[in-house]
Symmetry: D4
Subunit: 161 residues, 8 copies
């Protein structure tokens, strides 16, 4: 619980709130809004990175525009859970799988995939089915991605700290 | 299909590859590596943003360190699908729900939630259950988030273009 | 059992085999191949129509080319089976539903739908969900229509007679 | 998208509407109703065939009268999806299977069969079960084919073009 | 446990074995085979009837020949189990239901029905669905009644006594 | 359709109605009630036996009193349906299985068993599980046999003839 | 985490190991075996009780001998989870329910019940079904309680501390 | 039915009621409250132990305080039920499994486990999955142990005797 030792103050919160909304905001912009120096912003962000609060950042793309509008969840049944690690390594080689969990319930592994269309999804599902140790898969298709937003959670977490 | 008109060249690819790995990389660093001017980087990124390829960016946090290590998928059954829009608006007010889809198969809506622990997860699931129009929910708990990485997909998409 | 009284001979079989393969084949072509008169073909086809063997004919379209490549099966649960007739009448007003059965097992009614894409499918599923008396639907999506051919069955049936 | 280049006009629509209702209607009848020459009808139908809009035609039989009144849907589980193509080829040899899809959800392949009665259905299901690579099947029986009509869809599609 | 007080001897067993195979066998035939008097047979059968071992007898019909060859099991879900007794009384008025159990597992009541054909089965299932308090039914169809024989069990029970 | 040729008259109906209620009723009793000779009764019953309407008769026991009050339905999954015949022969050797069907839906074979108690039921279920070719079983336990009466159906069938 | 402050030493472990095996063991017996005074045992047990390690003790009965050999797990579906607390209070009034959990997955509440026999189990299940707010229950019956032993876990926990 | 011969009187009931609430209550305390001698208490408890009514006693711990707050139910599917005994022996070596039943329904064995947290639960589930003969497991997680109390049942049983 490194968190326990690390106390975020009001300034940190305001910096985080701005970075959460736009990771590419220049430190000088943050500094101006908070009436502090850019150096202070830099030092505080660095400290939060070192404490492991900030791990990195990622681009948000419009997959629809990029013709990757097909999303599906694929539940994977293994022949034996001793193969879990091996199968996850193989899944890791399929870039169309963006998320994978070991889960309770009927599936051993639960994946999220993004594809161009039905045909492409079929190919990706077959890639999963063809991994040695995979016994069967079951697919649930997204008709609409109604919400994909971690920012609300991030604001909530930092406001709670 | 704005994409069809917009042709990314080799330089664009290399800029994107760097931004995907680190959204906060300064344009001057990109420029130096590609032996072009920072202005050119700026213009090209701008163009890609306007074409809707780049939509924004988001921080990547270590939820484990932030004490939000509990992940679950919650399938929501509605009393009637005419309530879908209304229920999604309510779900949108629960920050612990980071993803929500309208799905085929047995669930009407399928959500991903992040919580502190079992107790907290129970509270969030009860929030979902209490939304008017929600008939029942079914929860699948993640024992391990083995993969959560959109970068491989992004590299793949841009290499395909 | 009108069939029992009606005895198809070898000539009838050969006429049927040609019509099954191409409903628009001119009777003169059939006549030439079988070395009989076109009038005979006409009389025999008429007799088979009157006996109820031939009910009509339908065009075969390339739905893929017409941008209707999305096929799904939708299982419908009713609030009460006394509503079956009423709900089927409503389903009958949705042209995207091409087949509907009253079934055993977990569904009350089982439909086949054709749509343009995921978004369009969602709209059609919502039309079904919105019919009064429909309690819930469950959708299974086709990744590939590998076979859709009644001709083999027709040849088999007539060869058995 | 060949469709994009091919523009159907009002005359084409009216020709199609008549052919959809009766594929065997003589071109001279169409011509008379539309006050155009039979040659024009011929040319336009030919063009629609070449554009892939019209792929062929099929007879509509009264299966009830032919003593094939038993309809069932059979879900097929494979031992491994790498066998999909092989199994579909075998299924293709069973004329009683009129439709087969590769599907999402719990089944790998989903078929529609027509049989004479319960006993005959059992034999056909056993044929499917006996295909190498088929692990298990699950059958849902139709109590009534309430709707089987592609004509409404065809009219809708062509009216939309 | 009236049984405990009632001791069947070898003669009783032999009488029962004959009656199990043919309830209409005359007592004089049994007497002849066992070298005892018909009166003795009569007295012993009477005693077994009074002890509640023999409750009655029923005809065995060839349902196939009677055109009642369609058998199905119907699982009934109730709106509330407080309605169980009421619903069972209604079921008791449908002669096509020959067996009904209150069960554990997903169904509240589990029935066996005999019908003439698919159409008739649909009517019977709809009768069940229409009973007030019945929420939903699920049907499993018999493709073949491979075994229906209580005689082996009866012989076993009496040999164990 | 032997039935078609065989016409039951009012007298036959009344004989059947009495035999259905009590297979052991003496022909002289039937004769007296119908004001016909015992010989006539004998001839008519014989004719109905030869026509296959009456196949035999069976004792009705009070299983509760015989300490066989535990009833369960066991669904059997086979490794392969080609083993169906073989497995049914093995099931036929277990006297506690009184009914067995080949079924549609998720089970290959569906059995009814009668046992003394939970412990005994476990042994019988294990006997089924141990049959070569049986892959898995699933059991549903009867909490109460609320109805087990073929007499109502028999009366109905003969009244319809 | 009171535990963190409270350090169990070797003597505590040995005392606990003896109490786990037999809660009624006199402190003088423990003292003799560990070569310490009974007063020391008393003080240490008291301290462990105050620290909340030891909460109490319970008798272990042979339910089989007490004619309560029927065990079942009952999954409860609620009409709405807002009723959870209310329903649990009602369940708390049924002494035959020995364990109840709020669970993930398809059930809202999951109970363990002990009954005398099938008939008694039916009554208890009906009590659960009759609670206001309970929508449906699903029962799984134990054929054998093969393991019911918390002692191994307790020894493990204290050895880990 | 040893029970049948053994008759508990009012004094026995009162002794049991006190022991159920606190197994460690000294016999002298019981004696004082009931105005009988401690020797009498001793004799009667001994008799109930010999009759098998009292089998032993167990400590009740606050698992929450001991950091074992994670409870799950794990359903185990076997490859073949002939392995049941073998698998139960292996399960018996995993101290985190506190209860195991052979069950009807979809699982062969049904277990209750206690773990420290999600990660620990995953390890225990993998231990179960790794037992030879285990084909698959399915886990249901407890969000709250709302009731775990055998005392009410014990009081009820003894009051009934």
């Amino acid at each position: 619980m490194i968190m326990a030792k690390f106390k975020l103050d009001e300034i940190d919160h305001q910096i985080l709130d701005m970075l959460i909304d736009n990771t590419r905001i220049p430190f000088t912009d943050i500094a101006k809004k908070l009436l502090i120096s850019a150096g202070t912003v830099h030092v505080r962000v660095k400290k939060m990175e070192e404490a492991g609060i900030i791990k990195g950042s990622s681009l948000t793309l419009d997959y629809q525009k990029l013709d990757y509008s097909f999303i599906a969840y694929v539940g994977v049944f293994l022949q034996n859970t001793s193969q879990t690690k091996f199968v996850l390594e193989r899944i890791n080689n399929i870039p169309y799988v963006t998320v994978a969990h070991i889960t309770t319930g009927k599936f051993n592994i639960f994946c999220k995939i993004r594809a161009k269309d039905t045909m492409h999804a079929k190919e990706i599902i077959f890639m999963l089915d063809d991994i040695e140790g995979v016994y069967r898969t079951e697919t649930m298709i997204s008709l609409e991605e109604s919400l994909n937003d971690k920012k609300r959670l991030m604001h909530t977490i930092f406001n709670e700290l």
